[in-house]
Amino acid sequence: MAFSANLEMVDSEARITLEGELDAAVADQFRQTVEHAAQEKPQKLVLFMDKLQFMASAGLRVLVFAKQRMGRDVAIYVIGATGPVLNTMQMSGFHQAVYLQESYP
């Protein structure tokens, strides 16, 4: 399934909805969306992952980029990650570094 990353600014929140398969071929698309979000200087980054079917380490590296680009005071929320995508985040310790929620707000 084709990948998409759509940014919506809601007040001081950057909300990005991820869909499809996030591999190294499309990770730069996600990175650019995060960069656009960072330019808005949000207080919170909310990533909706319930329609994300696959995430390789290239996607995890964009989460690292997001944190380093936005700063430690900008909390990252991951919403709706399930199954293997969630498992990948757990294997790599990312579940401890973001707020994992089933739904939002």
Binding site: D23, A24, S92, G93
Partner: protein, 139 residues
Amino acid sequence: MIQHSIPANLAALSDIRQLVTLACQNARLSEEATYRLALAVDEIATNIITHGYEEQGLSGRIGVSIERTDQSLTVVLEDTGAAYDPRTQSLPTAEDLDRPLEDREIGGLGIFLALQGVDCFDYQRSNNVNRNIFGMNLA
């Protein structure tokens, strides 16, 4: 054994995952194990394309062979890029994985996920061909 030849570019990653996923489904591997194998193959294929070919100024193909026995499903990636044994990569430690994202090093995560995700992994090189071998138990 099923054999395919895929162009070594990142756009072909989804084709490789599709081949692996289909073979896993035919072998009745669980969804969770299927994902782990597809992720492992994807991560190593990404390294082959990026570091083995593109960074060396090379182009080429990746051979994908899939073999099933009663006991296991084996995927072999073959390439003629730069020699690289993923097992020699220093992997993130438990301490590294506990670090906040802002303090994270970027490298090694893909190979960590690959090697952790499969039941067995081997690397061989002969006649200038790299062979990355992934195995999943079926029994």
